[in-house]
């Protein structure tokens, strides 16, 4: 069990590192949202699963897994709300972006 937990913890830390590098390196808000919400959730989720694996009693393990489930449910909602709000009030995409599928829906709304 210790080996499984160790590998999960390292992989989770690696995901958190990749998420923060994406946050600092990617060019605009929308691609940063993509890095932080997906890789960041997987990073902290894997570390919570590692804690659940090594926990001695069932209650702690179930609480940790319930926490992981909760993060997986809420992270996309938060990221979607933020990106949608930013798009609606007019924060621009990066110039190198190749697709803007919401531009059309915005025009049809008006």
């Amino acid at each position: 069990m210790d080996y499984i937990a160790g590998i999960l913890v390292i992989v989770g830390g690696f995901f958190a590192l990749v998420a923060s590098l994406g946050l600092i390196r990617l060019p605009d808000l929308y691609s940063r949202t993509h890095a932080a919400s997906k890789a960041g959730t997987v990073g902290s989720g894997l570390m919570m699963i590692a804690l659940a694996v090594t926990a001695s009693d069932t209650g702690t393990a179930i609480r940790a897994l319930a926490g992981v489930l909760f993060f997986i449910l809420t992270a996309p909602i938060a990221a979607h709300l933020l990106a949608r709000a930013a798009y609606k009030v007019g924060y621009k995409l990066w110039d190198g972006s190749v697709a803007d599928e919401m531009a059309q829906s915005k025009q049809t709304d008006q």
Binding site: Y3, G6, G13, G67, F71, A78, L82, R84, V89, G90
Partner: protein, 108 residues
């Protein structure tokens, strides 16, 4: 190598990863350049704090902090939702619009 020594090393390495990502994300909070960038970085900071709690729980055996991690996740989610609503209500600020145009010129 026994399991406990292996786990100890893994915890140290994961801790180093977490510290680096914590500082990098804090740098993004400081430099911005716009408000939504800062909000998404703060959301990420909550995730990193949960990771810290999990790793410290593994290291010391204080499983009590798992409840705090769940509460922190809830607070982080609600804060992000509230700030997203704030962005929607406020619209784009003048300084954000200015920094956006500056970035555009820099990229081209």
């Amino acid at each position: 190598m026994s399991g406990e020594i292996f786990l100890d090393w893994c915890i140290t390495i994961a801790m180093i990863f977490l510290i680096i990502s914590f500082f990098v994300t804090t740098y993004r909070v400081i430099i911005g350049p716009t408000l939504p960038d800062r909000i998404i970085a703060l959301d990420m900071l909550v995730g990193i704090a949960i990771g810290f709690i999990a790793v410290i729980g593994l290291k010391t055996g204080y499983y009590l902090y798992v409840d705090i991690a769940i509460a922190l996740g809830l607070v982080g989610f609600l804060a992000t939702v509230a700030l997203a609503r704030f962005v929607l209500e406020r619209g784009i600020s003048a300084s954000d619009a200015a920094s956006q145009d500056k970035n555009k010129k820099g990229d081209v």
